[in-house]
Amino acid sequence: MKVSITINGEAQSHEVEPRTLLVHYIREQAKLTGTNIGCDTSSCGACTVHLDGEAAKSCTILAAQADGGAVTTIEGLATNGEMHPMQKAFMENHGLQCGYCTPGMVMAAIGLLNENPKPTDEEVRLGLEGNLCRCTGYHNIVKSVLAAADK
C-alpha cells in the first residue's frame, strides 16, 4: 500500500507492506536512522518521535495509521544548524552517555514540556516514565529537562 507522510517538513510517499511499523518506515523508507529501536514491547521509548505535534512511540503505530500525518524526528529538530534548546540542554548537562536512548528521550522531553512547561523534578521523572536509559541513571536527564524548561 502507498503511504504519504510529511517527515521533518518534507512530503514523502512510499509503498509499504500493511504491517510496516512507523519506526521501520522512518528508518528504512525515509532513511532517517536517528530514530532507534531498543525493544519489541513498546517499553523503552528509544523510537519516540512527534506525530502531528505529539510525542509518540513510533513502534506502536503502523505507517498506515500515520498516513496523511506529519512526523518530526530527531533529525528535524535543529534549525539552520543550530540545535534545539532541548538538545543543547542535554549537551550542557551531560544528559547522555552512549546516546542510543537519546533521540527518543529528547523527543519525549520536548513533548513533556509542551504539555507542562514548568515541571518539577518529580513531574519530569513521571513524564519520562516510558523512556528507558541504561547509562545516566536519569539524574542528568532530569537536570537537562529542567534546564530546558528554564529557558
Binding site: E75, C98, G130, C135, H139
Partner: protein, 795 residues
C-alpha cells in the same frame, strides 16, 4: 614551576562538554544497524525453545521456499566453517572443564535461545518470517536452573565432560596453617550468611548488531559490530574461522552501551563473517530485544556463603567464603574468570590478618551463559562483605559505621599490602566515609529513625552504608598471567603531531558512552600545550588503531589514558631534541611549558611545538639521528591494579503494608584519584549507582523449572525508569594513585560496586526491628511483604 601554577592553567579537571554529543543528539551518529550496505543479506537465527534437548531432525525445505530466502544452514552444515570452537580466554585452572561450543548447535541445545539454524534472506523481515517455516524435532531433556541441583550431577548437561562442575578455584592465605579455623574457634563473634546474587540481564539500550563486508578481491573482510572489544574480536575471529589475522578488520561504530555484555565474541559475529565469505556479499544481523535477553550474556549468578570471625571489639580476624558460580550453558569469553575478579575483595576495605579462605566452584546450568556485567565479581564480593558486616554489627549491637571504623585500613597504612599479596595503592576510607556521613546527617537521621520505627509504624526508615574498594585498571599483565588469563592487560596509544600542529591521538580503548574522545583530547592537550579542539581521537577501528585491548573493567583511563600521557612524553622528548638543535642549546637546558620550549633562564629563546612539528615534517634541518615526523607510540602495562574507593549511604522508607520501598536519599562519595573531566566522572557514578539500585530493588532474570526465561523482554524485566530511582548526591575525595603519572584510578564500575549492598543494608536496617534479618534481592514489594509476614509469624 609549582603544581599550583600548573593547575591554574590546567585543562585536566575542567568540566568540558563532550565532543561526542552533537552527533548523538542530532541523529547523525551511526550505530551498526544504521550502516547502509547495498546488497546485504540478512541473517536470522532460529533459537531453541527448549532449555535442554537433543536435536532429532531439522527440516528446512519449507523455509528455503519462502520469499526472499537465499540460504538456510544448520549447525552440521557449517561445522567445517569453524577452525576452532567459540573462544574462552580464561582457563582459570589447568583442569577447567570447557565444553566445545559452536555458533550453531550440532546435536544438542543447552539453553533457551541456543542457536540452531541460520537463515539468510534479502531483507530482515523475510529472514525472520522464514524462521517460522523451519521444523525442528527435539527430544527434551531435564532442565537445570538450580546451582545446587547442577552440582549434584544427577543430570549432566555436557555428557562428554562427565560432570556439571567446570572448576574449583581456591585462594587460601594463612599466617600459619590452620589460622582460619583457629580464628573462628577463638572468635568472640561470628556470622555465617548465605546470599544469592541473582542473574541480571545487562540490557544495553542498543541491542547487538553485526555486519560483515567482504572485499571483492583478496579475501579481506571487515566486521562491523556493536562491540566493546574490536581488537579482541579481531584476534578471535581470525582464530575461530582460520582466517589470517591481517585479513580481518573490525570496526565498532557508535556503540549504544555495553556494561560488559558487548565484551564478548558472539555466535552471530562469527556467523556473519563465515556467511559473508561463503556468499561473497555483506551479511548483517540485528538482535531483537527479546532475543537479546536470551542470546546475549547475563551477569551475576552466584550463591555466596560468607563467614566472618571477629574479636570482642568487632575487629575482623578471619574471612571464609564459599561460592557457587553459575556459568550458564557454555563458557563465553571470560565467563569462568568473573568470580575470580571478586576473589580478592571479600575482606573489603578492612585490615584483615592473614586468615582468608576463599573457594569458588562453578557449574554449568541450562541457562544463557553468564559473563562480565558491570563490576564483574566485585559488586558480588562487596555485597557479601558489606551485608555481612551489617549482620555482624546487629549481632554485636554496635552501629554499623562504628564497626567499620574499627576495621578500616588506615590512611597511614597505604600503600597497603593485603593478605592476598596485592598492594592497595592509596586510600583514605575514613575521609570518604565522614564526608558521606555529613551529607546524610547521620546522627540526626538515626534519631529520626528511633522515633519513627516504633511498634506498629506503617512506614519504617532504614539507613544503609557500604565502604568499598574497586580493584580496577585491568590489568598488570604479570598478574593476569598468574590467573591464567589468555592475554595481557596493557594498552597502546599513538600520538601524532601533524605538520600544521593538529594532533591525532590513536587509542586502543573502545568507548561506548564513556566520552573517551573528550577526555583523551584533554589529556593530550594538557601534555602538549595544544588546544583540545586541535586534537582528534581515533579509535575502534583495527585498521586505524591496530593495537589495543579495548574497554572494560574500568581500565580505559587508568591504562589507556596513561598510555596517551606516555606517548605524549615520547613526542615531547623527540621535539625537545629538535628544539635544542634549533635553539643551539643542550636538550636538558630546555623547559617545556604550555606548548613552548624555552631555554631555562632565557625565556626569549623559545620555540613553540607547532614550529617543531613543521620542522619535523620538512626534515630540512633535523639533528643527527632524529627521524622525520613527530609521532610516538607507547604501550602502558600497569604496575599495579588501581584501587578506587568510597562510601555510599542510602536512606529509604518501607511501607510495611505493601512492601514498597521509597529511596529518600542516595549519597555516593567516591574517590577515583585525580579526575580528568568531573562532568563525566559524575555521570559514570550516577549510572553505576542506578544499576546497583536496580539489582537491589527491581531486576532479576527469572527462569521457570523448565528453563524458560520468564523475563525475556523489557515489559517483564524491570529496568527502572526515571520515576523508579532517586536523584543521586555525588561528592568526592581525591587521593591520587601513586602508580601512574596522571594519578588516576578509574570510575566506570564504582557506582555499581558500592550500591546494591548499600540499598540492601538500608532495607534490612528498616526491617530488622520486625525480625527480618535476611532478604534476597531484589527487594521487590512482594518479596519484602512476604519477608515481613514470615517474620511476624504470618503465612
Amino acid at each position: 614551576m609549582s603544581i599550583t601554577q600548573e593547575r591554574a592553567n590546567s585543562i585536566i579537571g575542567q568540566r568540558m562538554l563532550r565532543r561526542e554529543d552533537p552527533a548523538l543528539l542530532t541523529g547523525e551518529a551511526k550505530f551498526t544497524n544504521d550502516l547502509v550496505l547495498p546488497g546485504a543479506l540478512h541473517l536470522a537465527v532460529l533459537r531453541s525453545p527448549y532449555a535442554h534437548a537433543r536435536i532429532k531432525s531439522i527440516n528446512v525445505s519449507d523455509a528455503l521456499a519462502m520469499p526472499g530466502v537465499v540460504a538456510v544452514y544448520t549447525g552440521k552444515d557449517l561445522r567445517d566453517a569453524w577452525a576452532a570452537p567459540m573462544p574462552c580466554a580464561w582457563p582459570v585452572t589447568p583442569d577447567m572443564k570447557n565444553p566445545a561450543h559452536f555458533p550453531l548447535a550440532l546435536d544438542k541445545v543447552c539453553y533457551v535461545g541456543d542457536g540452531v539454524v541460520a537463515v539468510l534472506a534479502n531483507s530482515e523481515t523475510e529472514s525472520r518470517d522464514a524462521l517460522d517455516a523451519i521444523d525442528v524435532v527435539y527430544e527434551p531433556l531435564q532442565a537445570i536452573t538450580d546451582l545446587e541441583v547442577a552440582l549434584s550431577d544427577k543430570t549432566i548437561i555436557h555428557e562428554d565432560l562427565g560432570t556439571n562442575k567446570s572448576y574449583t578455584w581456591n585462594l587460601k592465605v594463612e599466617a600459619t596453617e590452620g589460622a582460619v579455623d583457629e580464628a573462628f574457634k577463638n572468635a568472640a563473634f561470628t556470622v555465617r550468611e548465605r546470599y544469592v546474587q541473582q542473574r541480571l540481564i545487562p540490557m544495553a539500550m542498543e541491542p547487538r548488531a553485526v555486519a560483515a563486508v567482504p572485499q571483492p578481491f583478496g579475501g579481506d573482510i571487515t566486521l562491523y559490530s556493536a562491540t566493546q572489544v574490536p581488537h579482541i574480536l579481531k584476534v578471535m575471529t581470525a582464530i575461530t574461522l582460520g582466517i589470517p589475522e591481517h585479513q580481518v578488520r573490525v570496526v565498532a561504530p557508535a556503540v549504544g552501551g555495553g556494561f560488559g555484555s558487548k565484551l564478548d565474541v558472539y555466535a552471530e559475529e562469527l556467523l556473519c563473517v563465515a556467511l559473508a565469505r561463503k556468499h561473497g556479499a555483506p551479511v548483517r544481523w540485528v538482535e531483537e530485544r527479546s532475543e537479546n535477553t536470551q542470546a546475549t550474556i547475563h551477569g551475576r549468578g552466584q550463591i555466596q556463603f560468607v563467614e566472618l570471625a571477629a574479636d570482642k571489639d568487632g575487629k575482623l580476624t578471619a574471612v571464609r567464603v564459599r561460592l557457587i558460580g553459575d556459568m550458564g550453558a557454555y563458557l563465553q569469553l571470560v565467563t569462568p574468570g568473573v568470580p575470580l575478579l571478586g576473589a580478592f575483595l571479600y575482606a573489603g576495605v578492612y585490615d584483615l590478618p592473614l586468615a582468608y579462605d576463599f573457594s569458588c566452584t562453578s557449574v554449568f546450568t541450562t541457562m544463557t551463559p553468564t559473563d562480565a556485567y558491570r563490576g564483574a565479581g566485585r559488586p558480588e564480593a562487596t555485597y557479601a562483605i558489606e551485608v555481612a558486616m551489617d549482620a555482624l554489627a546487629r549481632k554485636m549491637k554496635v552501629d554499623p559505621y562504628e564497626l567499620r571504623k574499627r576495621n578500616y585500613i588506615k590512611k597511614e597504612q597505604f600503600p597497603y599490602t593485603a593478605f592476598s599479596g596485592l598492594t592497595y595503592d592509596s586510600g583514605d576510607h575514613l575521609a570518604a566515609a565522614e564526608k558521606a556521613m555529613s551529607h546524610a546527617d547521620y546522627a540526626a537521621v538515626r534519631k529520626k529513625q528511633a522515633t519513627q520505627n516504633v511498634a506498629g509504624a506503617r512506614k519504617r526508615l532504614g539507613i544503609g552504608m557500604t565502604s568499598y574498594f574497586e580493584m580496577c585498571g585491568l590489568a598488570p599483565s604479570r598478574v593476569l598471567a598468574s590467573l591464567n588469563y589468555g592475554a595481557g592487560g596493557w594498552e597502546s596509544a599513538t600520538v601524532r603531531v601533524l605538520p600544521t600542529s593538529k594532533v591525532q591521538v590513536v587509542t586502543g580503548t573502545s568507548p561506548h558512552g564513556q566520552g573517551h574522545e573528550t577526555s583523551w583530547a584533554m589529556i593530550a592537550s594538557e601534555k602538549l600545550g595544544i588546544p583540545p579542539e586541535d586534537i582528534d581521537v581515533l579509535h575502534s577501528d583495527t585498521a586505524i588503531a591496530p593495537l589495543g585491548l579495548d574497554t572494560y573493567g574500568s581500565r580505559s583511563l587508568a591504562v589507556g589514558g596513561v598510555a596517551i600521557a606516555g606517548a605524549c612524553d615520547k613526542v615531547i622528548d623527540k621535539a625537545r631534541l629538535i628544539a635544542a638543535h634549533q635553539l643551539e642549546c643542550a636538550a636538558e637546558d630546555l623547559e617545556f611549558v604550555q606548548g613552548t620550549f624555552s631555554v631555562k633562564g632565557s625565556p626569549d629563546k623559545a620555540v613553540p611545538i607547532a614550529a617543531i612539528a613543521f620542522a619535523a615534517f620538512t626534515a630540512h634541518n633535523l639533528p643527527d639521528g632524529v627521524e622525520p615526523n613527530l609521532e610516538a607510540q607507547y604501550t602502558h602495562d600497569p604496575k599495579n591494579f588501581s584501587w578506587p574507593f568510597g562510601t555510599h549511604i542510602c536512606i529509604l522508607e518501607i511501607d510495611t503494608e505493601t512492601g514498597k520501598i521509597e529511596v529518600l536519599k542516595y549519597i555516593a562519595v567516591d574517590d577515583c584519584g585525580n579526575q580528568i573531566n568531573p562532568l563525566i566522572v559524575e555521570g559514570q557514578v550516577h549510572g553505576g549507582v542506578v544499576q546497583g539500585i536496580a539489582q537491589a530493588l527491581y531486576e532479576e532474570a527469572v527462569y521457570d523449572s523448565d528453563g524458560n526465561l520468564k523475563t525475556s523482554n523489557l515489559a517483564e524485566y524491570l529496568v527502572p525508569a526515571a520515576c523508579d530511582v532517586p536523584p543521586i548526591t555525588t561528592d568526592f575525595t581525591v587521593t591520587p594513585s601513586p602508580t601512574n603519572q596522571l594519578g588516576v584510578k578509574g570510575v566506570g564500575e564504582a557506582g555499581t560496586i558500592g550500591s546494591a549492598s548499600t540499598v540492601m543494608n538500608a532495607v534490612l536496617d528498616a526491617l530488622s526491628g520486625l525480625g527480618v534479618t535476611k532478604l534476597d534481592m531484589p527487594a521487590s514489594p512482594n518479596n519484602v511483604w512476604k519477608a515481613i509476614q514470615a517474620a511476624q509469624g504470618g503465612n
